[in-house]
Amino acid sequence: MLGIGAALALAACVPGQGEGTEDPATETASQAEGPAELVIWTDPNRQVGFEMYQDENPEVDLQIETLPDDIESRLQLANQAGEGWPDMIVVKTQQMAAFADAPYEFSADISPYVPEDLLGEFSPAILDLCTDGDALYCINNDLSPLVLWYDKDLMEEFGYELPTTWEEFEALGLQLAEEHPGYIMGHIATMQYLPVSRCPMAQVVGDMSLQVDLEDPNCTRVFEMIDNMLAAGALSPMSPNDPEFIADYAANRHLLMSVQPLHRGQYGFINAYEWPEGSVGIAPPLRWEDEDEVHNYYGGGVAYAVSRHSEHLEAAAELAAWMATGPYQTAPETPTFPAYRPAQDNWIENHTDMFYVEDGELGDVVEASESQLSPYWDELNVGSIRSSYAQAVEPGLRQGESIFDLVPAWQELIVNEAQAAGWTVEEG
């Protein structure tokens, strides 16, 4: 078999995988009259929202299908079959832009059906993920901007001050490692430190064209910080959900602070790490010393996309807007932080007793984190690029290697994965 492969490889011509995709079918299906019947593919979390809508709007018939994590393959199968698309799906961050383009060509532009003033009420930048020029390919449900979580009791005991810059974060980590060995400043969250530092890991610079440059100073300053803190023992190479991490650092309160998304306060620190309410401190995101502003990043978040094959575009777009901005966003069943700003106050109120804020109120910290979002990283739906870090870097870090030694192989993997998916890549 390998022989055949080698022989085939000798034939010079290499057709790109983008073939047959030059003709993006942006046209929508012809619209049907009468009461709408909408097929919904949702994740389990959002199901209750659709059920609320059904109760309020009995004239619309919702067929709600709760799917495991395989929406992409189901869409591809529907595309291949030429039928069987749902009217609406719940999409993840990296799918928001991707599902409008090849090879999915699924999301419809719903801007004609959504009032513009409604869109003005969303957290800035989060809607960028759903828009392309004037077109609106989805509506965001929630977001989870990065914040600095810390152990309020431990900070008081050690007498440290909260860092506001990455340089202070590193310095405090080195001090902590020396004065209190065994205590850490969280896990190595490279994939969150890098976009905050605006490192061009996989940056879209044109149509199907990427820049990949891990030697950029915006990347190397992060690698230096990681290596210094790792060598001192101030960061853990494990993931914050590893049972070992929880046992060794989190549950026994050896975790002084940790950069993690907003939703982790309740689901990580209180539920999984079992810290008492009021001991979980929250502080605004960090900036680099020579920069005036924070370029914050986020973890997670979903949106609603409507099918361009739907015969009830208007009804589906109305449902999408309702899910993102309606009463579902302030219902007690809604676990997430709303992307729709008028609904955020409710979330802040519900979480005020849970978290400790040193200066000011929870609302201030939350606003600082969501208003300074700057999603420098384009979200590519090349799954293997997002997981390339886990594949090329993480195992080595766990074996105690320096991140600088692992970066060349990582860059090579990103470039290979991008090219295999049909992208042209500029390095450097």
Partner: protein
């Protein structure tokens, strides 16, 4: 694609020369045979044969339509993961096949000749692991291989493996392939049953004749039982080769539990999945699947030729 069901076990009993008594098949028996096998044939055609034919068609069509020649095969073969996936498959197949055969034949030989009660008890015991296969088996193994929660955690830790990553070593494809093979070998109970059944069909007279001639247990195994098992070993080999080309669930799940540290393109079948469902390139996916089918078929042809599996002994 090359489902093991595609290859039927040799029906040596139906070869007339095996039974010179000359019992002929009556019309009624023939009808019953057709009826009983028709359901299988129908399902086989619908869910194995026709999809395979469709895959062959797809493999020569351009993603946007039109004849592609060998374009899709070139796309697949020039993918940077292509060679690596087949290397992984090679290591896996080797580490899976050899112990499977040795264990199946060896344990069946040990069981054969034991008292019925003992033999049937052990048959059940050997088959038990086979009741936990696929995804469930992998989950069980993940539990076993996580030092903090594993019942053999002490053993792992005494070997210097304190974390799941120390055991699984996601950066090392060869060690992963061996791990997947071990998970697969664990379920070779079916092979043991097959071999045991085959041994039971060795005519009593032959064994008696051999022991009258003074053959000891070893000679009996080497000169009587193993040669008579040849066709069954061939069958086991064919189905096992075909099964090993289908490595998918184990690495896929391992990728999920390691948050991607084990990539999603460990085996060729996973790469085919990536082509279809990540790139939307079904023709390239079909081109890769066909290569796996050919691999299974090629293995079968080789085994049949070497062992004379369908040769009728007179």
């Amino acid at each position: 694609m090359s489902a093991p069901t595609a290859v039927r076990p040799p029906r040596s009993r139906s070869v007339p020369t095996d039974r010179p008594s000359g019992r002929s098949v009556t019309r009624g028996q023939a009808t019953a045979g057709y009826v009983l096998s028709s359901l299988y044939v129908l399902l086989f055609v619908a869910f194995a044969f026709l999809p395979a034919v469709y895959a062959v068609y797809l493999a020569f069509v351009r993603p946007g339509g039109g004849f592609a020649g060998i374009g899709n095969f070139i796309t697949v073969a020039t993918d940077f993961r292509y060679v690596a996936t087949f290397k992984n498959l090679g290591v896996y197949a080797l580490v899976f096949l050899v112990p499977t055969l040795v264990i199946s034949i060896g344990l069946a030989l040990l069981l054969h000749g034991r008292r019925t009660g003992v033999a049937s008890t052990f048959r059940v015991l050997y088959y038990l692991p086979h009741s936990v296969i696929g995804v469930a088996a992998v989950l069980l193994w993940l539990f076993l291989l996580t030092p903090r929660v594993s019942p053999i955690g002490g053993l792992l830790e005494s070997l210097g493996m304190e974390q799941f990553y120390d055991v699984v070593r996601p950066g090392n494809p060869a060690s992963l392939a061996v791990l997947f093979a071990i998970i697969a070998v664990w379920t070779s109970g079916q092979g043991i049953l097959l071999m045991f059944a085959a041994l039971s069909s060795v005519p009593q007279e032959v064994e008696e004749a051999a022991s009258i001639d003074g053959a000891n247990a070893w000679q009996m195994v080497w000169h009587i039982k193993l040669p008579l098992l040849r066709k069954w070993v061939a069958y086991l080999l064919i189905t096992s080769v075909a099964a090993s080309t289908q490595l998918f669930a184990e690495p896929q799940l391992m990728s999920a539990v390691t948050n991607g540290a084990v990539g999603t393109n460990f085996s060729p079948l996973q790469l085919a999945y990536t082509f279809a469902y990540q790139y939307g390139n079904f023709p390239a996916s079909a081109a890769l699947s066909i290569q796996l089918l050919l691999l299974g078929l090629g293995g079968a042809v080789l085994v049949v030729k070497k062992t004379g599996m369908f040769r009728v002994e007179v």
